[in-house]
Subunit: 218 residues, 2 copies
């Protein structure tokens, strides 16, 4: 029932961003059903659980070549395998982290990222109390060593957790060194060449949204 993605081009399917944002919800939902011993699930069942139209779910899943069978629905094992593969959670993506402050240090300690395909192999900072140390087994180098380490280890992803005043300078340095995607945790809107992928995850912007809506309700 489910077609696996061709090995050679595992992710070369153009999927709209809203679909991409919903796929992890379906994945966590069916993982839960699997734990409960279920083997099949219909889009209607998922729809009830997560409050998204069943037709939207079916459409989203069709992008990754998953289709349900009449009366039986989707095979849960196949769905988990295809979604995890498509979302990139089954391959390790090596990353460097820049800025071992409070948030950077916290991310280094979050081993959960490993289960979702991100392996932070080294961190960079300029603080002499941090350089030369390890955190959760991850070595911390001086920022000046980045270019050298980049030559030794082919790394495509940079995690940006520096203070805002150096966010752009460190971004430029990363791009010049060959980093292809930047996971930006700063509230600063960094500028990059067109071909560089930027994923903004500003916890503070999310906090502001939550505070604002909370106060609207009070």
């Amino acid at each position: 029932m489910s077609t696996h993605l061709p090995e050679s081009q595992p992710l070369a399917i153009k999927v709209p961003e809203p679909t991409l944002r919903r796929l992890p919800w379906y994945l966590s939902n069916v993982k839960l059903l699997k734990q409960q011993g279920e083997q099949y699930v219909s889009s209607t069942q998922i729809s009830k659980e997560i409050n998204i139209d069943a037709s939207q779910i079916a459409k989203d899943l069709s992008y990754v070549h998953l289709s349900g069978r009449t009366r039986v629905g989707y095979e849960i094992d196949a769905m988990i395998e295809v979604l995890e593969d498509f979302l990139g959670f089954t391959r390790m993506h090596r990353a460097f982290l820049f800025g071992v402050g409070s948030l950077g240090g916290a991310l280094l300690q979050d081993s959960g990222l490993n289960h979702f395909g991100l392996e932070i192999v080294a961190a960079f900072d300029v603080n002499p109390q941090l350089v030369g140390q390890e955190l959760n087994g991850i070595p911390i180098f001086h920022s000046d060593e980045f270019e050298q380490r980049m030559k030794e280890q082919q790394v495509a992803i940079g995690v940006l957790t520096v203070p805002i005043e150096i966010a752009q300078a460190i971004t430029d340095k990363m791009v010049a060194g060959g980093i292809k995607a930047i996971w930006n945790f700063t509230p600063f809107r960094i500028r990059v060449p067109e071909e560089i992928v930027v994923q903004n995850t500003s916890l503070y912007a999310h906090l502001a949204l939550m505070f604002n809506r909370l106060n609207m309700n009070v």
Copy 2:
């Protein structure tokens, strides 16, 4: 030039979500300008820095009653004060954290959240090795103690960092106990009554988006 928000109802302005998402960018941008010794900034200057239309910036800022003067622009100090106040970063919002796993533990150690108005006052877990301990000065209680602690400390925000299989059950417990807003870090789409605020911040969904776009570019 800038009107301060009335003290009594600091956040009771209905602002569209896209505007709310952009305001923290303006804030970090003008904080940086202040550090560089600037006193005034025009929407055109901000526009060049962060690549958003100057007219959009002016419109966004007008929602929080900030308006620039001809030829002088916006007064930076006033802009920082109004934005920080509006975004809720100047008041402490007390929160409980549920689930001291890898990510939950990391968040407890991120003191940066304090600077943006979130104070995690206690954490809950069922792991006997964690219950009774402290992390970064924050006490960890058994989950069964939540209702009691809730009566002692009026807390409006719950941070959800539990495994997906108990995400809904813990959400229900939080809501029953009086939590008004949930910061959901799980990839699980939780269901809540209409009046409860949910802010989803799934690091894993963001990772998936980044991996996908990275692979499209390779």
